[in-house]
């Protein structure tokens, strides 16, 4: 027919099966922050410790044979725990608005009217934050390991420390999962990005402050459990340096983190509900 209908045309292309929703959400979630210059600066800044350590490894492996520069398991341990500062900032920058902005702009209705499930939504949002956090913890750590191998020209560093790769992976994963799940739960509690950010900052800083004061006063390290941050550091130290003398404390530390994660998952389950969609 010579004159084609300029109006609405039906879609003839193919349609993917469901179940991919979480990946779509994660991928799109990463695009927005990467477009902001401030965030790129933050990411770059988060990689500066990597550069410092890389130089240290270079010197250790070549010119100066002194013990100070030679890489040991401890260098990776300190690197990961130093990165917690950037984990904190990136978690707030990317994570605070993940659900809060959707709640404020009523986007939840749009998401859940699509063929995706609530768990696709939560999973996708978690993955967005987790990928950024991994980019400043696990990835630089493994790159450092690779550099160490390249500079030393042999695999024996890895062979001497068989537990190093699993330790780095486990520690980084703990850091990423804890920060991502907690931030996402707090983000789902409010409609304002700023309030969620303040909640997270308050939780981390205030708990840390309270813990140092109480531990300082009562000399009893059990107070560490009230601060997720310090509990995590304790566990990471245990991962790298082997089980501590006070094994009971390690057990309760792990229990505390697991409890926190469960609480966050429950919050997410309750706050991201289909029924209060379609206001």
């Amino acid at each position: 027919m010579p004159i084609h209908d300029q109006g609405y045309r039906h879609y003839a292309g193919d349609r993917a099966l469901h179940g991919r929703g979480w990946w779509v959400i994660a991928r799109h979630g990463m695009v927005a922050p990467l477009r902001e210059r401030r965030f790129l600066a933050l990411l770059l800044f988060a990689w500066s410790p990597f550069a410092v350590h890389a130089v240290q490894l270079y010197l250790g492996a070549t010119l100066v044979r002194s013990a100070f520069f030679v890489a040991t398991e401890e260098t990776f341990h300190t690197f990961l725990s130093q990165q917690r500062l950037f984990v904190f900032f990136i978690t707030i920058y990317v994570g605070a608005g993940l659900i809060a902005s959707d709640r404020q702009s009523n986007a939840l209705q749009v998401y859940l009217s699509k063929p995706i499930t609530r768990h696709d939504y939560i999973g996708g949002k978690l993955l967005t934050l987790a990928m950024f956090l991994a980019a400043v913890t696990w990835i630089p750590a493994m790159l450092l390991l690779l550099l160490q191998i390249l500079f030393s020209g042999s695999l024996d560093f890895v062979l001497d420390h068989p537990r190093l790769v699993p330790a780095i992976t486990l520690a980084a994963t703990l850091q990423v999962v804890l920060a991502a799940v907690t931030m996402l739960a707090l983000s789902s509690l409010s409609r304002s990005r700023r309030f969620a950010a303040m909640l997270y900052a308050g939780l981390v800083i205030f708990a840390g402050l309270l813990d140092t004061v109480l531990e300082g006063v009562t000399r009893n390290t059990a107070w560490m459990l009230i601060s997720p941050q310090n509990t995590l550091l304790f566990i990471i130290r245990a991962i790298f340096d082997g089980p501590p003398d006070n094994v009971a404390l390690l057990g309760s530390a792990v229990a505390a983190l697991v409890a926190l994660l469960i609480a966050c998952v429950l919050i997410l389950e309750r706050r991201v509900r289909a029924v209060d969609v379609v206001a």
Partner: protein, 242 residues
């Protein structure tokens, strides 16, 4: 100024509800909790506080608690949170329109809200500080410390008034005052007090510690700030964007 009194009543009702009340309860409750825990720990003798050699007496600890916890953290935080949100929140929520079309000077809105803030925060912080005092300081040697305790309370009261007034003014003038306020209180004030020369004087905390003359100056400055805020809200146009 009956309009101010009415605004005070409305805001009081508004303050004791929801997020604001929770925030205030935490701010007043946590130090008391802390004091109780410390007292129990010390009483059971399980832990002695040893700082550079000498056993710290609870009174000095109370002194540090007042300055560190209250003056540097709780009072400024409450001042920033309530001061900036008083007007800025209503403008952002667009509920300010209902108040602007009432037969009263707009300044009464600011004054009413500021007085409500003063009443609520004083009623929360001062008793909390007193409680911490009674918990921490053993009854025996409470006598000589009473006047220093009263001076501490004065410091707190003036601090509450000053931070409140400063951030009411900020709240009326700027669009997003909260972030700036937080940076001023937790970024600028600690740094400035460490820097040499006059820089230290560009903070509220400095005048709080500068004896009665400093505090008097602060009270006058607070009054001036509130009056300026009242004038600003009357002359400024609030275009509530769509």
């Amino acid at each position: 100024m009956s309009a101010t009194r009415r605004m005070l009543e409305i805001t009081l009702g508004d303050m004791l509800w929801g997020r604001r009340a929770v925030f205030m309860a935490i701010a007043a409750g946590v130090p008391v909790l802390l004091a109780v825990v410390l007292r129990v720990a010390l009483a059971s003798g399980s832990a002695t506080v040893v700082v550079n050699g000498s056993r710290l007496s609870t009174e000095t600890m109370f002194g540090t608690a007042i300055t560190l916890l209250y003056l540097r953290f709780i009072v400024p935080a409450l001042g920033v949170y309530y001061g900036t949100s008083m007007i800025a929140d209503e403008v952002e929520d667009k509920t300010i329109t209902y108040l602007f079309v009432r037969p009263m000077r707009r300044g009464a809105i600011v004054l009413g809200k500021y007085l409500a803030y003063l009443v609520c925060v004083l009623a929360a912080v001062l008793p909390s500080a007193a409680l911490v005092f009674f918990i921490m300081v053993p009854f025996a040697n409470m006598g000589p410390l009473v006047d220093t305790f009263v001076r501490d309370l004065e410091q707190l009261a003036v601090g509450i008034a000053a931070y409140g007034a400063l951030f009411v003014l900020a709240g009326v003038t700027f669009k997003r005052p909260l972030v700036g306020g937080l940076i001023f209180v937790f970024g600028w004030e600690p740094i400035a007090s460490a820097l040499p020369g006059y820089v230290g004087q560009l903070t509220v905390a400095h005048y709080l510690q500068a004896g009665t003359a400093g505090m008097l100056g602060l009270v006058l400055a607070s009054a001036a700030a509130v009056l300026l805020a009242m004038r600003t809200i009357e002359h400024r146009e609030y275009v509530l964007e769509q």
